[in-house]
Symmetry: C2
Subunit: 326 residues, 2 copies
């Protein structure tokens, strides 16, 4: 009888460069992983074929297709409600891509698709610090962008069109840096890895303060951390500015949502030691007074390489709830 | 048998100056109204006694106490979850005031208490344009402040502490105008009636542009509108600045919440004809691109004098849901 119970799901994380495929069990153990280069598939039909093939190979090597219950996909600009990737800026496929329905039809398993930020929130709610929280915010500080989602009433708040939580595209300066989205001054132009490096370049150009960064050649986020470790004042000021900017934006977000916690994730955090104290200070200084003592600012315990496939695996378990498209 | 069905509720709106008490029927008809001067009651016990007395008089004149089902109260800094007014800046009673439990014990009816902004949202969801919407934002542009609440999954999003939606205390300028809340640059210091008048005074002081406002003596919002009606360029620029500031903040709010609509209410709107076009332009210009075509920016159809007691009446009907305190 036990072999009739499907005890595994497939969690897939699609990014503009790499696609990660994982077999995950009920407790969130990642049993096996595989990768595709997203850029190898300029045509989405070829991508879906390759995904299906890799899922079959992974499942055959790990108990068989009949033990797989469902598939969850995390992708940028994806929409829970429609199961489509919609006008993703950096992806090889333009326009509206019904990825969930295409993979379902190809592989014969139920498939749910979600926005990477909302899927991260799902993962955090089951396998991270948000376990047991009804209302929380998760913010992913990445290389190019800042993603986010929040929970309301114990569920991801999708919003009317499935695009809630886009804190990275909130405007902090109408005359600010141009953003890929077509506007100016979006938060992610300042507090992503790329944004922070731009702040550093601007400070180097606009001042003549001595700095170890001046001899660094092509600037990297690792250098920016190392120089701050060595007491470089300009490097520390870059982190200080980023932390203050982020802290205020997170406080404004939390003042509107009133969550139990704001949970931070993403690649930037691996380098952001010198950003954390100014961020925390400006966050609590800027919060609405009645909620200042109750909201926690946390760094997610889930590591960045597993986060998205784990979140996608939660989506897969909840496939009946989230695959409402035809 | 029909006289056993309780067909009326009491909706109460408490403000720092006046308290409005209304008898409301199932369809939202206001059957009778009464007022108290809040400032006449420096002690909250006296206020509760007076409220109970006025409710008894109103109900005796309109079918009797036995026809009243329950009571809903809308108040600033009130908390659905605890039934208390908590540290309200402008009210005569300081600290934590368990107003709902006090009135319930005094009058023998079920009582629910809510934050004025959330209660407005409830009213809008039953008797206004938000009827049938699952996710919407309501923003009240008042004399001193800007209140707000939003719905998620067809319910007011209260947040972890019952204080969600405080867009008026989001920071738009860390070095900006001091706010009553103790911080600087809160949105309500710029787009409330008082905030807009301050912008006008600053523009008059900082420039020597000719303006009808210069001969106006003590500046009022009515004058600011009339001068703009007469083509006064400085007055129009004041409205332009307010509209642009508000539009960006509403867009950031909507980019996070992704509502079906942003619905505006409040006393400012009675005078804000010249603010509307720049507000609408900057709102749509600043929205995240994937939701730009779907979100509606609306002015509530409910008039300002009825809004709060109507919202409080909805709270009264939902008393079983919202009076969870002991």
């Amino acid at each position: 009888m036990e072999n009739e119970i499907k005890t595994k799901v497939v969690g897939i994380n699609v990014t503009s460069s790499v696609t990660l495929i994982a077999l995950v069990d009920i407790r969130g153990n990642i049993l096996a992983k595989d990768t595709l280069k997203t850029t190898d598939y300029p045509n989405v039909n070829g991508f879906v074929e390759a995904l299906a093939e890799h899922i079959m190979l992974l499942s055959e090597a790990n108990g068989g297709y009949q033990t797989i219950r469902s598939v969850g996909i995390s992708a940028p600009s994806a929409n829970f409600v429609t199961g489509c990737i919609e006008n993703a800026g950096n992806m090889p496929w333009k326009g509206i891509i019904p990825l969930a329905a295409m993979l379902r039809d190809s592989i014969g398993l139920a498939v749910a698709l979600g926005n990477d930020a909302h899927v991260s929130a799902l993962g955090e709610s089951v396998y991270g610090y948000a376990h047991g929280m009804n209302t929380f915010i998760i913010v992913t500080l990445g290389r190019k962008g800042v993603g986010s989602g929040f929970f309301a009433y114990g569920q991801p708040h999708l919003g009317a069109d499935g695009f809630a939580g886009e804190i990275g595209h909130c405007c902090i300066d109408v005359n600010g840096r141009p953003c890929n989205c077509g506007r100016k001054g979006c938060l992610e132009r300042y507090v992503s890895i790329q944004g922070i490096l731009q702040t550093a370049r601007e400070m180097l150009e606009q001042t003549d303060h001595p700095s170890l960064l001046r001899s660094a050649g092509e600037l990297t986020i690792e250098q920016l951390k190392t120089c701050a470790d060595h007491g470089d004042e300009l490097a520390r000021e870059v982190w200080n500015v980023a932390g203050t900017t982020l802290g205020i934006s997170l406080a404004n977000y939390a003042t509107v949502v009133n969550p139990e916690a704001v949970i931070l994730t993403g690649e930037l955090l691996e380098h952001a030691k010198w950003m954390m104290a100014p961020m925390e200070k400006s966050f609590y200084d800027s919060l609405f007074h009645n909620i200042r003592s109750t909201i926690r600012l946390l760094v997610s315990p889930i590591n960045n390489s597993d986060r998205d496939v784990l979140g996608a695996s939660v989506l897969a378990w909840k496939v009946k709830e989230y695959s409402l498209f035809k």
